[in-house]
């Protein structure tokens, strides 16, 4: 009994210490030879996870490391960099931001000496909305973000087959989760970094979503998983997978969400009535399903409702 109490105390001390020194405990998971992922929690931003709810990763290319997304804070970027250094002596060849959401680019500052690139619309989004996102994340995750400042990517990425740092990559300029969502397919390893177009066992977020575009983007990603060289799918949130399961899961959620909101609008429901509708059984247990549903109604219902009301017979 005494011993158990002691263990409990020690565990408590350990937890308090880890929060106090703001250690994300980043562990690189090798998903293929020379490709690794830092897998985040399937949670929303809070003061315990410090914003580590996102997947970041890197490819060890012949001429240096290609970093895909930099995490939610300066501290995360620094710790990610230290974890990579422990695994590889190579310099950073390029840091890529897949899209303009804060958990994917607020670690940029830790890579100030490396080239940093994104799709043009992503760079514009970071420039115009980055500070507001950072403030919001500071509010949600507190001192984990201390010292974090927005660094806008200067380099502009284009879609297509390219060789970066000696590695053949296919860059896909897609959209739907945001106005610009970059997916990266690494031919040598068969790893597809899907960014936030794909969520795995975690409800998708929709603050800047266009559902029709997102669904079209998922079809393009799924086509890659049918190529003979494909090995691993890395979603923006949730565990990496060896098949297209997370793509199908994300698609199922989006299709359901679209159908739910369109039906509600057609039946004349007010937003509060849509919010009250229960989740179907297939999604009810998915982490963050209830909160993401509520957020998605706020993000998406006004436009869907307006499209439906516009079909009514009105003479001005």
């Amino acid at each position: 009994m005494k011993r158990r109490a002691l263990w409990a105390l020690l565990t408590l001390v350990a937890c308090v210490a880890s929060a106090a020194d703001f250690d994300y405990h980043l562990q690189a998971q090798a998903v293929a030879p020379s490709v690794a992922v830092f897998v985040g929690q399937r949670e929303d931003f809070d003061t315990r996870n410090g914003g580590n709810i996102v997947n970041t990763g890197f490819i060890a290319a012949p001429q240096g490391l290609i970093v895909i997304d930099s995490g939610p804070s300066l501290r995360y970027g620094q710790q990610m960099r230290a974890a990579m250094r422990a695994l590889s002596p190579q310099a950073i060849a390029l840091v890529i931001n897949t899209h303009h959401h804060p958990d994917h680019f607020l670690g940029n500052q830790a890579f100030a000496d490396a080239p940093l690139a994104a799709l043009p619309a992503t760079a514009q989004g970071i420039a115009s909305e980055g500070n507001a996102f950072a403030e919001n994340l500071f509010r949600l995750s507190g001192d984990w973000l201390k010292g974090t400042e927005v660094r806008v990517p200067q380099g502009s990425l284009q879609a297509g087959e390219q060789v970066i740092a000696g590695r053949a990559l296919r860059l896909l300029a897609l959209d739907g989760h945001t106005d610009a969502d970059l997916a990266v397919y690494d031919h040598a390893s068969g790893v597809l970094f899907a960014g936030d177009l794909v969520f795995h066992d975690r409800a998708p977020t929709t603050p800047h979503a266009d559902l029709a575009h997102w669904l079209a983007a998922l079809d393009q990603l799924e086509a890659i998983t049918r190529e003979p060289g494909f090995r691993v799918l890395v979603p923006g949130h949730g565990l990496p997978a060896r098949d297209a399961g997370p793509i199908r899961q994300t698609r199922a959620w989006l299709l359901w969400l679209q159908e739910r909101l369109q039906t509600a609008a057609r039946n004349g429901l007010d937003m509060n009535e849509v919010l009250r509708q229960p989740l179907p059984a297939e999604f009810a247990r998915m982490p963050l399903a209830a909160s993401e549903y509520r957020r998605s109604v706020a993000h998406l219902y006004p436009a869907i409702e307006a499209a439906s009301l516009a079909q009514g017979g009105v003479q001005q």
Binding site: G268, D270, R294, H299, L309, A310, G313, V314, Q316
Partner: protein
């Protein structure tokens, strides 16, 4: 006799509770807001009021978008007691502009759905005045990250908002689970005047009536009503088209007919 007493007693008690509201309300604010005293002075000075669960205010406890917080006010429980609801005022204690809107249900249920801009977490309240002159106050707390009143309207940057100003879209539902429902959306920036360089510019009056002139509902929106206001109104039954007309505080008028 005894039986009758038994039946009458709760009624009498209810009547005492219901009909003894005083200008100086003794009951504690169920929403425990530090601003309630101010609200009472501003909206109900010298008038009779009571807190009433029958005035239902539905709003999300945590609002995702402070620019578009859905609020549904339903005072139809009061009407079931034989009291007609003549006026409803909606306000948010902690908003920089407190009053959200007033509505006057005429030949429709005392019920209105709309969306508001909130600057910070606040109670959102609806007070319904019944034909006996008593105000019945309901409400709900809404938590939000805020900033809804001092952010520019989403369409401020778009070029075509002027062309669509006061444009009405809407539908009526004659059958189905929402039979009798009317929903409409009016294009308007609803500027609060709290954004530097943008004066207050908002819809001020909206009337809904049948084509033969029978008034159904009058709404007096204020600045905190969300951009491009959407209203949900419950007609007792859909019979024929409705005419929606109104104006904003710059004198721009509109009129539209929504088919059944």
């Amino acid at each position: 006799m005894k039986r009758q007493m038994k039946r009458l007693f709760p009624l009498a008690l209810l009547a005492m509770l219901n009909l003894s509201p005083t200008p100086a309300l003794a009951a504690a604010d169920p929403l425990d807001s530090a601003r309630w005293g101010e609200m009472q002075k501003q909206f109900f000075a010298g008038q009779r009021l009571r807190f009433a669960a029958q005035v239902r205010v539905t709003a999300p406890a945590m609002a995702e978008n402070p620019m578009q917080v859905p609020v549904t006010v339903d005072a139809s429980e009061l009407a079931k007691n034989g009291l007609a609801v003549e006026e409803v005022v909606v306000f948010a204690d902690f908003n920089p502009i407190v009053e959200v809107l007033r509505f006057y249900p005429q030949a429709v249920r005392p019920e209105l759905g709309f969306r508001v801009k909130l600057q910070q977490s606040t109670p959102v309240r609806a007070a319904a005045r019944t034909s006996d002159g008593v105000w019945h106050v309901g409400g709900a707390w809404v938590n939000t990250v805020g900033g809804g009143c001092t952010a520019p309207s989403a369409n401020a940057a778009s070029k075509d908002w002027q062309a669509r100003l006061n444009h009405v879209i809407g539908r009526q539902w004659a059958s189905g689970e929402n039979a009798g429902r009317l929903r409409l959306r009016i294009d308007h920036p609803m500027d609060t005047g709290l954004v530097a360089g943008t004066p207050a510019f908002h819809l001020e009056e909206i009337t809904v009536s049948t084509r033969d002139g029978q008034p159904l509902m009058r709404i007096l929106p204020h600045e905190p009503v969300a951009e491009n206001p959407v209203f949900t109104i419950q007609r007792n039954q859909v019979s024929g088209p409705v005419i929606v007309s109104g104006r904003d505080n710059n004198g721009n008028r509109f009129q539209a007919e929504i088919a059944p």
